[in-house]
């Protein structure tokens, strides 16, 4: 095979993708989810998580969570040293069960939002964000 500059760049990119997706901190993620849901099953449905596909800087990644009938929404960054990000509780005067904020991501990973609906069931949405510069220091 002829090794051109273009092929070399593609091979380098492939190696980076493989190296950049280790399975990290999954036990911690499960603990946080279990603490939030109390072991109840998690379905899919009435929840939406908006996150960028590619974040150049992991220090400020804008995200938005929304749900039609959520009492609480938990946001997790599964690849961070500590996976918890924030928990939104909506009070009686919240016009919509939606909020936007900016979060820190240590690297390319999946961001997960879990909502506790008014009827006590749980639903989940997730989105993968590619991060080129990590935001957790160290």
């Amino acid at each position: 095979m002829e090794l051109t500059r273009r092929k070399a760049i593609w091979m380098g990119t492939g190696a980076l993708i493989v190296a950049g997706l280790p399975i990290r901190g999954s036990a911690a993620v499960e603990d946080v989810i279990a603490a939030f849901t109390g072991g109840a099953p998690i379905g899919t449905g009435d929840i939406k998580l908006v996150a960028p596909e590619i974040a150049e800087n992991g220090n400020t990644v804008p995200i938005e969570v929304s749900s039609g009938s959520a009492a609480e929404i938990l946001v997790l960054a599964t690849g961070n040293p500590t996976p918890s990000v924030a928990t939104f509780k909506f009070g009686s005067l919240a016009a919509s069960r939606a909020a936007s904020t900016r979060i820190r991501l240590a690297g390319t990973q999946e961001v997960v939002a879990i909502a506790k609906l008014d009827d006590g069931s749980f639903v989940q949405a997730s989105s993968t964000v590619k991060v080129t510069i990590g935001g957790c220091g160290g």
Partner: protein
């Protein structure tokens, strides 16, 4: 501990009764995550805001628990119903025990 903390909020001056308005808040805070190291390799201790609440005339709008993964200068945007004239109160609770509070009046019109 944290210096130069300055809360900023954006609330419309007037609204119709029962209308949903969008509120944007930002507080200047360096939000040290407890994951970074200084030049000597020592971990910089965590110093973040751990809770943010917004109330209108004593009724809760949102109550957010913050973890170190919230970015520097925490920003929140959400929607609230304005049933009557009154004031929104925004409160941030710091790890070091400080409480930062600001409020914004809103009129019906």
């Amino acid at each position: 501990m944290a210096s130069g903390v300055k809360p900023r909020v954006k609330v419309p001056k007037t609204a119709a009764a029962g209308e949903a308005i969008t509120i944007k808040t930002l507080i200047s805070h360096k939000m040290e995550s407890g994951q970074r190291k200084d030049d000597d390799g020592n971990v910089i201790p965590r110093s973040i805001i751990n809770r943010f609440t917004c109330d209108f005339n004593g009724e809760n709008v949102v109550d957010v628990t913050l973890e170190p993964a919230i970015s520097t200068n925490p920003y929140f945007e959400f929607e609230a119903i304005v049933p009557e004239a009154g004031a929104f109160t925004f409160t941030w609770y710091d790890d070091d025990g400080s409480v930062y509070e600001t409020s914004k009046e809103i009129a019906i019109g």
